[in-house]
Structure formats: C-alpha cells, structure tokens
Symmetry: C2
Subunit: 488 residues, 2 copies
C-alpha cells in the first residue's frame, strides 16, 4: 500500500462501453511509479481521498466489478480518523465513537470483527456553567427547573425544525432564508434571556460543530442535527452518538479496508488537477496521472476547492466550496497511572463554558490499570490555542483537569494531541460547516455530480453528517451512482 | 508580454546578501519558455497575480532596483478589472469608478495620462423600495421623514463604529465579538422596525459588498466602510466613490503598467505551489519555475488558498482563507442609440430592493450620440441568475429597465456582461468578504507575512479596501516591506 503502483490487476470489463478513452490506454497502465511525464494509468473510477468515504466507494466499486484507484494526499489512510498512542495504548486521535443507530459503521465493524465497548459513564458528570460547577448523574444537566424547562423548549424548537427538514435540501424548509441569515448566537439572544441556557447551548454548538455559535446559522445547525436524530442523541453517551468506542481504534477499520484494496490505494498522492472531457477524466497527482470514466472526490468542500478543475467548476459549486470551512478542534488524550476520578465517584465527563477545553470523557484502556481522559479544544478554545506550543497546551489542559478532578490530574504518565487545523490535508474537523447564508444560496451544489465528477464524504451524507457513519453511507451512495453510470 | 519568457534583463545586485540560493542559479535563468523539468529562473521577488496590486508591487520593486517576475494565471492582466466592448465603445467589465480621495489611483492616472470624466448624475434617480417607486434628485433618498431620520440614525451608528475602528485590527474594537457574531440582517431586525429602512440598508449591503445581509457580520462591514470614509461616500456618486470614470477604461492602466514591465509579466502562468526554505522561495507555475528571495501573493484569500504551500500555512492563515469568500456579482453594460432616459429627466441611476438587478448608473460614451447604462446583479440577484444563460439574463435586464425607464429600454443596440463567479481565476467580486466570526477568530492572518511570503491585494489594504485604490496602496506597502527585507 505504501508504494504508488498500478492497482489494475483486477481490471474488469465493466463499463467499457463508456470507456473509450481509458480502455485505449489500458495496456499502458501496468507500470511502476510514474515519473512526471509518464503515461497515465487507466481505471474505471479514480477516487480522491482514502478516508472512510473513499475506501467505501472503492471497495463497493470493486465488489461491482469496476477497477479503481484511491489517491490519498496524506502518508496514511483514514482521513479525519487517525490512530495514535498514549501510554502504549492505541487511541483515536480523530473520529472515535459509535452510536447504536449508526448502522453503516456497526456493519463494517461486524464485518471486520472489530469490537466496541460501552463508553464509561458511571459516576457524576461535571457541568461548569456561568461560573458554577455542577455535578450530576445521567444525561440531564442539573440546571434550575425554570432553566431546564427553557433549555428543553429551545432544543424542542431545534428538533422540531430538524424533524421537518429535508436533509438533502435544507433550503426548502419553510422559513429557511430567515434561519440561514441569523447566527445561532443571534437566535439565542432573541430566543431566551436565561444566561445558563444560552451558555449551555453555546457549549452544545462548540462541542458538536467545532465553531462558535456566531459562526454558524440556525439553518446550518439543522442538517447535522436532523441526520443524527436530534440534539438529545447528539449530546448523549449511553444510547447516543457517544455510546461506545472501538478497542484498538476506529481507524483500524480504514486500515483494513485499505489493505484489502492493496495496490489500488496510493499514498502520498496529492491530486493537483482533474480534467474531464466527454470521454472521461484525467486525474493528475504527485504520484502520477490516472484516467477513468468517472472521478469521486471525497475531500470536504473547502479542501476539494484546492484541486484545479478543467473545465472550471460551475459558479454555484465553486461558491459553495468558498462558503464552507472546517471546524476548529484539537483533540487531547491524557493517560494516568489510575483512573483516580472514578474513585471519587466521577465519570470523567466534563462540559465547560469557559475553559480552553470544552468537553472531556473517560477513555478506558481495557486490560490495563491505566486511567485515560479524552478531551477537546473546540471553536474559540481551539482558535485561541492552535498557534501555541504543545507544552503550553499540555500545561493548560492539566491545569483545567486539576480544577475539576483534583491535583492528581497534574501528574499524567502521558499526553498526546492532534491539532487538526495543522494537518495539511484536513485543516480542521470534525466537519466542514456552511457559513451563514451559504445553504440557501449554494446548497444544491453540495451533492450533485458535476459532469463525471461525483462528491462523497461525510458532508454529503443523508445520515450522520459529520460522523464516520455518514462518510461510509456517502461512499455507498456514490459507489451505487457510479455503478449505474458505468452500466448504462 | 504574451510569451512566458525570462524577465531578468535588468537583474540588480540588490539584496544578493540574502539571495544565496537565487544568485547561485542566476546564470541558468536566461532561457526561453521552460518546459516541465527545466531549470528554475531566479529573481529577487516572485509576484503572483497581475492585477493592480501585483503590478504595483512589481513596478515599485523595479524602481528600487530589485528584479521581479509577475506570474498571472489568466490570459490577461488586470485581475478584477477588465476591458470589454459594447456598441464599439471600450467599457470596464470590472472595477470602474474613482473617487476624489482615492489618491493612489488618481496619481497613477495622472502619471499615465489617463483622463477621467464625472459620472453623469443630472436628473432624477429612481429608488424602488418596499413596492414603491420613488424619484428624486441628489444623494438623499426620498424616504418618509421618520424613515429618513431612522436611516440616518443607523448609518450614523455604523459610521461611528467605523470611525473607532483600527482598520488593520478590527478585532480590537470594543464589542468586536458581539458585532462579528451577528449578521447585518440580524442587526437590522433589532436596530429598527422600519421596513423601508431595513430594505434600503439591504440594498446598501448588496450594492457595496455583493452579499446578502445575512452573509456578512456587522464587524465584517466595518473595515471596508471605514477605509472608504463611511457609508455616505461609499454610496455617493458626486464626491463619493462613484464620482468619475476613466475614458477608455480603468483597465488600460493595468495594461500600461504591464507593458512597462515587459517580459517580467508572464501570462497563462497559474501558480500551483510555493515552497519556502531558509534560503528563499521556489514558485512553480504552469509556465515554469521561478526562485526568489521573497514571494508576494496578491490573489484574494480564498483564491490564495488554492496554491499549495510547503511548508503548509500556519493554522490561523489557512483558516482565514477558508472563512473568506468572493462576493456574488454580474456586471452588465447596455448600449442604446440615444440616452433616452435623459430626455425624460432621469439620471439613469436606479436602486431596487427586489429586482434581479440592484443598481444602475448612466454610462456615458463621450464623443458619441450613444446612450449607455451599467448595472449589477449583486448578492441574491447574482446567486439566482448566475447559472442562467446570457440570453435569459439579457431578457430580464431589459424587462427591469423598461419598467423603470420606459419601453425604449427593450431595444438596445448592444449588451455585454461579465459573470465574475464564472471567471476561473477571480470566481467572484468585488472583493473577498469574511464570514461571520472570521475577523475575530482569524483576522490577524490577513496581512502578516508568512516567512518569505507576503500578502498584497485590495483585501489587505488600509484604505479603500475592495477598491482599485486599495489594491494599489497594498502593492505599495508590500513593495516597501520587501525592499526593507532585501536590504537588511
């Protein structure tokens, strides 16, 4: 998988009816690493990006008998999932959790024999809100009854809008324009006078979208919320989107899919340009040139914009990519000799409205005595701390954890972090978020193919947008679309 | 200027102290068009983009004795200025007007001997607002007295904030975060209950920023407003930013600057990557590779993001480029046998809050009997009409003009349009606008150089941001910065 080589051993007859151009050069495509100027190699479909979306596209196309290559800019597969180590244990530095309704990811895990274990939730959670530190069990934050009622009213309003949303066409929602032209912050200012409720909603926005509430519109909030089953399941651990984690990382599933694809996955192959004609596509990467009947770009819209397209993208598609941006997130793992907070009756789950870090969870390391915490700088916290040194961030993290969990937090045995904005091929996470006004102005360009170029990736999903499950489902959808086009 | 050739005839000794790398390869740089793999050519400064900013950088560096190359992606110079023809007359399809305080542009015009003539303003303007068509003379819209007072109060509030703004550091303004986290639309909803005032302010936002009021934050509005001297001068013709036009186009000044630079300007040279080391920069374009001590990128941030940088841009700079987007604008020229509206006592100036087109001006063709109108689809109007055919847009334009000026408007003798979002190297106009929340989160990355890469362009200006004058001033600033670095 490490060496850029032709992945055409299994060339199939499928689709050759539309493949005049690529079929004609098929005999030239068996070579080794292409130096600049070498002959292009031909496949049915050229896939850009080896995250869960791209790998799913490729394996489903293979299953259907099509030949593929997956060009990955990075030196690893997995996209916004990535494995790392803390205290010798494999952890996820990117996407991590799975919920019970994420059937695409659960099916993949079952197929690959990757086991999940429930997120540790025993004991009291901590909610640090408008200057008060509250401790509570379960999913319901211990706000004052009137605030809790108000928070329920606001989330019901959001969930009500989400329930009415056509996820693939949010601009069709009644009142879409007004919702898209106000930020979540402005909505909060007008929807409630309760500062705890505003602040908790801000935490919700940061934690789930990695933006400040003033960076996303009310309409922008809805597709991800609707696709995840509502605000409750999005925030929840048990039974919700943080229900379980995979032993040995979720990333290993990307790794195994890539291994099964063998030489068809080419690493260190940033795609510089895609040219399409009536006959096919030509994809030029740093690792050589491939031709195909179709291309599938799985990079999130703001990153897909950095590929040069000939002919140029239509105005609406180009504008969409200018008006979506990656969220701001730094993920942190801290390992301790023991999970000392558990002995104090604490779950390790922390939400804070003023810390540099915004949310924390217990990160169990089964089969060891180690304690682990996994936390996030998100939105403003990430924006403020992204240009600081790892040492400065580590000191801040330990200071904040000590404030919540006790002085033992100051003496970890290991620390690992992932600054997603610094990763040259991801430049943020979890997901690309539309700017206010973008969905109503340019939204239709998110999913529709442009000629022979299809778009996959979690941003284009109909379920669990922003989650790994959404990435897989988008890959399945686009693979099916490609098969239909290859078999006219 | 059309053939990519070395522009190194005037190589200067300047700066060779910091130019080990480039000086070493200077002898290799005298070749003709570089095929892929040819030796790089060496200059002191590699300038990316041949708009007014880039050409100003280059000519000022030349004056200071430095050697330059200007790599232009397009097949012409001028960037967001461009000449076209309508009824045989040369017109500006992009930036056009000049105001009396735009000293950089006026000085350039004086130097080049390009004459300006006053914008035609005689007769009554038309304001079509909340379903009423109002006709009036002068700059003050004929709103009801209470609405006029309210509009004055709102513009005074904006101008008051603009007056307090540090244009180069808008995030330092008191209350910046709250201003950046609400859209202009939300501000309008809370600032006034007058529908005519809201609607006129929306027209103002569309006309001057080419966005819907729900796409830009209140803070986002301020730098351009402050840099143009306030809302009044921005909207005004006589004495304001639409005071005068240049005979034979403003674009010709870019053309003349480029001619004076000779072979140093290379067209059809899209820059694909910029690599910097401790010793210098290497800029790879479709027309070959150049090395230099410094690079100056003049493309607006969302377009500059499409260049591949090694090492990668710091997170804050990359995020800024993800959170700025080009405005939406289609510019239209319509020519008539006579300026028939003048005979009706009309100025040709039209503002509309509900048309596909939003604003119109008389476009005089001196020395002819022709009548001309120049108008704009901006913001939502441009978004709706950008994917339609030129024929459909033309029909709509004539229908709207006939509604305001009479049936004569249906029979023009010529029509020309420029869809800026469809231009592959500009992808919108007039200017890149920061998304809500962007200035406070990422603003400091707009102007500061990253290593050996400096940023110019009208977005980085301190005066007349978004205007040609700002582009020139940014070029002067960055040229001076470069000279300082080349002469340590």
């Amino acid at each position: 998988m490490k060496t850029p080589r032709s992945g055409l051993d299994r060339r199939a007859a499928l689709g050759l009816g539309v493949l005049g151009a690529t079929a004609a050069v098929a005999t030239r495509s068996q070579g080794q690493v292409a130096p600049s100027g070498a002959q292009p190699r031909a496949v049915d479909v050229v896939v850009v990006g080896a995250g869960f979306a791209g790998l799913t596209v490729a394996r489903n196309l293979r299953k259907a008998g099509a030949s593929v290559v997956v060009l990955e800019a990075d030196d690893r597969v997995g996209g916004r999932t990535k494995a790392g180590r803390v205290a010798g244990q494999v952890v996820d530095l990117g996407g991590q959790w799975v919920g019970p309704k994420q059937r695409h990811l659960l099916a993949l895990a079952a197929e690959l024999g990757v086991k999940s274990s429930p997120q540790y939730v025993d004991g009291k959670n901590i909610l640090d809100l408008v200057g008060k530190e509250l401790r509570y069990e379960g999913e319901i934050p211990p706000l004052e009854p009137k605030d809790l009622e108000e928070f329920a009213r606001l989330t019901a309003e959001v969930d009500g809008l989400a329930a009415k949303l056509d996820i693939a066409a949010p601009w069709k929602l009644e009142g879409a324009s007004a919702l898209d032209h106000q930020t979540v912050e402005s909505w909060l200012q007008s929807a409630t006078t309760s500062e705890p409720v505003r602040s908790f909603f801000r935490v919700f926005t940061r934690a789930l979208f990695c933006v400040e509430p003033g960076q996303i519109s009310m309409l922008g909030l809805l597709p991800m919320t609707a696709a995840a089953g509502g605000t409750g399941p999005m925030l929840a651990t048990r039974g919700g989107s943080q229900d379980a984690v995979f032993a040995g990382s979720v990333w290993q599933m990307a790794d195994r899919m890539a291994s099964a694809l063998g030489d068809a996955v080419v690493l260190n192959a940033p795609v510089r340009s895609i040219t399409q004609t009536e006959r096919g596509v030509t994809v030029t990467s740093e690792a050589g040139v491939w031709t195909g009947a179709l291309a599938v770009v799985t990079a999130p819209p703001p990153m897909a914009a950095r590929i040069h397209y000939t002919p140029p993208m239509p105005p609406q598609r180009d504008a969409l990519t200018q008006h979506m941006a990656m969220g701001d997130v730094i993920k942190v793992h801290v390992a301790y000799a023991t999970p000392f907070w558990r002995d104090k009756g604490l779950s390790g789950q922390i939400f804070s409205d003023h810390g540099a870090t915004c949310l924390w969870f217990d990160m169990a390391h089964p089969g060891t005595k180690l304690g682990g915490l996994v936390g996030f700088f998100v939105g403003g916290g990430a924006q403020t701390w992204v240009e600081r040194t790892p040492e400065e961030r580590r000191a801040r993290v330990l200071q904040e954890l000590a404030g919540y969990l006790g002085p033992e937090a100051r003496t970890p045995i290991d620390y690992a972090e992932q600054v997603w904005a610094a990763q040259p091929w991801q430049r943020g996470g979890y997901v690309a978020v539309p700017a206010p006004g973008a969905l109503t102005a340019y939204g239709p360009a998110l999913r529709g193919p442009v000629g022979r170029i299809h778009w996959a990736g979690t941003e284009t999903a109909d379920v669990y947008i922003g989650y790994i499950d959404g990435a897989i489902s988008s890959g399945e959808r686009v693979a099916a679309d490609c098969v239909k086009r290859l078999r006219p």
